[in-house]
């Protein structure tokens, strides 16, 4: 197959290579030719990345625009031996040395194409080993009960009682969260077990990978638990007792937003005050009892205060370093 014309611009040559790698026949020879081109000029690598992304966007657009009938035909008709639809996504070739393989695969297609799984009906299970619909495996200890549901792009297991161990099917896009009372443990692909503690708490033990653990409403203060680590959290108690390897605080970005899901204003204010030097004070306890829903910048208490004021028909007073929310 003809190599991209060296007299073309770098972007044009890169386009040739990207198409060649994705649609051409992948020989060892063509791969090493690409490698040679990539190392020939430091700009080639970036241009190639850009071209691959451009090609991906093109395919994305075409696939999304494709009439549903065409897609259906591709899956239903199996008279001759074509490959099932979409499988070819997984077979794009990894052309580059040095961990620079950039083809799109099945995993990437999940990111782009498939609509989120519709909420599956919640099932109550008592069996010992359960294969969850997402491919994860739950092993239940005697007396354990769980409910599993997929909704809003999140796979959620509710541990109703006892202790269970989870082998989580890898799926970066759909976080896997186990809830034990008011304790949440989230992983993408990993093995961990969760046991109930009292009515609100839970113990999380990580066998492989790492898991984020947080008490209800405190997602921004989640703790990273790594393999071998154990953590017992009971929000009913004043402080979490951490066991095993020192839990590392989350990197900053997780703090960037505070998500409130039907939380009393008073509790939300406490969260803002914990991370900001500019404090919020509620002058009237009635305002503190109002429930609020929303996503706010953690470092912008003013925006939050305004939302509360709008919600409770209150007004805001600014003092030095304090924002006061008062009844009108």
């Amino acid at each position: 197959m003809a190599r991209p014309d060296p007299t073309d611009s770098i972007a044009d040559q890169a386009a040739g290579w990207a198409v060649d790698m994705a649609y051409g026949d992948m020989t060892a020879e063509s791969r090493s030719a690409l490698d040679a081109w990539l190392t020939a000029d430091p700009r080639h690598r970036g241009a190639y990345v850009r071209a691959c992304a451009g090609l991906y966007a093109m395919e994305d657009a075409v696939i999304q625009a494709a009439p549903a009938s065409a897609a259906a035909a591709a899956t239903s008709s199996n008279d001759n031996e074509w490959q099932p639809a979409r499988r070819s996504f997984a077979r794009r070739v990894m052309p580059m040395a040095g961990g620079m393989a950039l083809a799109a695969s099945l995993a990437a297609f999940i990111v782009t194409g498939l609509p989120p799984t519709p909420p599956a009906p919640t099932r109550i299970a008592t069996a010992r080993i359960l294969n969850l619909s997402d491919g994860s495996v739950a092993t239940l200890q005697p007396g354990a009960r769980i409910a599993f549901a997929v909704a809003d792009g999140t796979r959620t297991v509710t541990l109703l009682s006892g202790e269970a161990r989870f082998q989580v099917a890898k799926d970066k896009v759909h976080p896997f969260v186990v809830r034990s009372g008011d304790v949440y443990a989230q992983a993408t692909g990993t093995v961990y077990s969760v046991g109930r503690v009292g009515t609100t708490g839970g113990t999380v033990r990580v066998s492989e990978g790492s898991v984020l653990v947080w008490p209800r409403d405190d997602r921004d203060q989640a703790i990273v638990l790594r393999a071998g680590g154990t953590l017992t959290l009971d929000p009913a108690l004043p402080r979490p007792k951490a066991a095993a390897p020192a839990p590392a605080p989350l990197p900053l970005p997780a703090l960037a937003q505070i998500s409130l899901d039907n939380v009393p204003v008073a509790a939300a204010v406490a969260r803002f005050n914990r991370v900001n030097s500019r404090r919020i004070r509620i002058a009237d306890p009635a305002i503190g009892n109002i429930r609020i829903v929303g996503l706010f910048r953690a470092d912008d208490p003013e925006q939050f205060a305004k939302a509360v004021a709008a919600l409770s028909d209150a007004r805001i007073e600014y003092h030095k370093d304090v924002i006061v929310i008062k009844v009108k």
């Binding site: 430091p42 241009a47 090609l55 966007a57 639809a85 070819s88 912008d300």
Partner: protein, 192 residues
């Protein structure tokens, strides 16, 4: 690992590429002729593709801007030039994007619409080739036979389509900001 890489390509296609036009305009405004925007963009893609994970990036547009800025700064340094276009606080707040989510979404929509417009100009052969290969999973040979053209024609259609999309992405038509910036050279050689 490969999954990770593929996720990154998909992410670049959806979250970074649509902002390329805005980043180019911004580069032309900030750096004028001091750096070659083409080189900066390519290097920025290279750095972004080298990311081990993208989970921590919640504002891809801002990340792209910052990466491009870092690349441009490095290039100036390497070239022994002193950067006379220091960023003001104002510029940074433009970049870091404290705007409410709604604005961000609207801006992203406009950029996406631009990319969509480009993608809509793909030739029918190009479209059909992608459908046959990626949706129906035909081989190269079968695709070419179905379209009634040679295999190298199929490839050429795809290459030309992609080249057009990439070129369209790089064009600085919108408001002539790039042209206005021309002729003002900023950055001076250290030797004098």
């Amino acid at each position: 690992m490969d999954d990770e890489r593929d996720i990154i390509t998909a992410w670049i296609a959806r979250e970074i590429l649509p902002h390329e036009h805005a980043v180019r305009l911004w580069l032309a405004r900030r750096w004028r002729q001091a750096v070659d925007a083409e080189d900066v963009i390519q290097e920025a893609y290279c750095r972004i593709a080298g990311l081990a994970s993208i989970d921590h990036i919640d504002n891809p547009a801002g990340y792209f801007h910052r990466t491009a800025h870092a690349v441009a700064t490095d290039m100036m340094r390497r070239a022994g030039k002193i950067n006379l276009v220091a960023l003001t606080q104002n510029d940074w707040s433009d970049v870091i994007d404290h705007g409410p989510l709604v604005d961000r979404v609207m801006e992203a929509d406009q950029e996406l619409a631009r990319v969509k417009g480009l993608l809509a100009t793909l030739s029918d052969t190009c479209r059909r080739a992608i459908e046959l290969r990626r949706i129906e999973g035909l081989s190269r040979k079968e695709t070419a036979a179905r379209l009634g053209v040679s295999e190298s024609d199929v490839k050429n259609h795809l290459v030309r389509g992609l080249q057009k999309v990439l070129k369209g992405m790089a064009e600085q038509d919108a408001d002539g900001e790039a042209r206005e910036a021309k002729g003002r050279v900023v950055g001076t050689s250290r030797s004098h």
